[in-house]
Amino acid sequence: MSANLPVLLVVVPLLCAPLAALTRRPRPAWGVAMLAAGWAFVVSILLLSRVLAQGTISYHIGDWAPPWGIEYRIDEVNAFVVLIVSGIAAVVTPYARRSVEREIDATRIPLFYTAYVLCMAGLLGISVTGDVFNVFVFLEISSLSAYALIAQGPDRRALTASYQYLIMGSIGATFIVIGIGLMYVMTGTLNMADLAQRLPMVDANRTIPVAFAFLAVGISLKLALFPLHLWLPNAYTYAPSAVTAFIASTATKVAVYMLLRFFFTIFGAAFAFDVMHLDRVLMPLAIIAIVTMSLSAIYQVNVKRLLAYSSIAQIGYMILGISLASVTGLTAGILHLFNHALMKGGLFLAVGAVMYRTGSVRLRAMEGLGREMPWTMAAFVLAGLSLIGVPLTVGFVSKWYLVLAGLEKGWWPVAAVVLVGSLLAAIYIWKVVEVAYFRERSREEPVREAPLALLLPMWILVLANYYFGMHADLTVGVAHRAAQVLMGVAQ
């Protein structure tokens, strides 16, 4: 069994999906989802420890040898990503039980969990596979289920948000498949490792840069890189709380992973940066994303939308680190994948608790909540401090490495932008803090604190921010090794 773990990681959740649909009732469906999430989390820990001890795992599906068979290839990079996805799922799924019961009609909940588990399976599949077309398939699995999940939101604007995401996401996926097709034409293989070997032999032909470009645009759409981010604010704002927390912490991270895999492993850093000058495109866009999206967040009156714009800015940080194309820069970017999942996960879970009790996530609904929901708001403040980058939080560690990477290359503007972004984050986080603690309640009825089922997952993520902020050697170590693998540096 343990030899088959790489494929079981994806297959078990995939099988759990129709199981959830068959249960017909909310609680059993949730139980199936818990099973899938728990399984994925345990397996991802096992896989990460195996990779750290023994190096890259290569698994041949059906024992067909690559490049003809599909290979699942797990190295430090995707072991880390898989841990992030399954970890977030393991925390959000217990939370989802009560949150979803409040926000979604009971008859639809089993189907909700079906889509939820499918999304999880899809994201995990993208992360472990070593075949590029397989990536596309899992990408679409996760995307379609995400569209369905987002459309479950209570507000009717969830429908238009989901539709907009569908259109833009499908364009992105189609661009990716065009890129894959063009690569296949030139090399005759779909296996990532094989492509990495064959591409240098044919990249004089203009097809390969075209494939590169299509892939770049397609992946950028999926990870909401400015200016292809337009689907994100609405999608995050109107989706059900648990869905937002899950997707905000995983979907864009997996898209960043795809970027890393395609451009560093398959095309190779030399081609991507020295020939195609990807850094000249990514870095300015990342900087613009950080500044403009943080500024946009400041002016929002809907807290979920505020956090959505903040997420786009934080993705800018990850891309900024990656575009520096150095080991430190990549370490910073990969580290921020993990850290941001912790931060935003905690923040969205806290906002979800507010939604649970007050029925609204507008800033005005949060007036006086500092007194009425002290634990929830304390969680929000602590996660917010991590977003700002206060020492002893994961946000600080990310910022440290980002600034270090910028200074190492002598690029002061990068360091300055990272720090300015922190200050802007302080402004929009403090906006919420002031409303919660300084204003008197304008609602008629006081509300009670959120139930323990919501508080516990929230606080687990928030405390994880501080634990990994104080003992960062595990996450930094893995990120560093992953960066070395991607840059092709001998360890």
């Binding site: 459309a151 429908l159 989901s162 539709y163 498949v177 296949y184």
Partner: protein, 118 residues
């Protein structure tokens, strides 16, 4: 003559542009989906036409004969792609039905007006 020899790519480009343009310029939600489908179809044709080998026949093994086959892999990939396309269209259309129920219209402009009023 070489340019005409690449006629399959021209078809692909034509369909891709028609589909993309429809997608972007039309305000009717169903028409957008039509555009998306045409766009995705162009990609299918790209793959399939890439797999064709001159003088190649359908990739079904005939025992004992040395035959040139067209590449079957793109066909396999496209079958998957078609299924994905169908699923996307299905999800998209079901969203359109729900939107019609919620807003009373499937024209993008009218929906925006209703949302801004909120």
């Amino acid at each position: 003559m070489r340019i005409l020899g690449y006629y399959n790519y021209w078809v692909v480009i034509f369909l891709m542009m028609v589909g993309f343009y429809t997608l972007i310029s039309r305000g009717n939600l169903v028409k957008k989906l039509v555009g998306l489908t045409v766009f995705q179809t162009s990609v299918f044709i790209l793959y399939i036409s890439m797999g064709k080998i001159e003088g190649g026949t359908a990739p079904i093994i005939m025992q004992g004969q040395h035959v040139v086959y067209s590449n079957p892999i793109p066909h396999v990939l496209i079958l998957t792609g078609i299924v994905v396309g169908i699923a996307t269209t299905a999800v998209g259309l079901s969203l359109v039905v729900r939107i019609k129920e919620a807003y009373g219209t499937i024209e993008e402009d009218e929906i925006h007006v209703q949302d801004d009023v909120l």
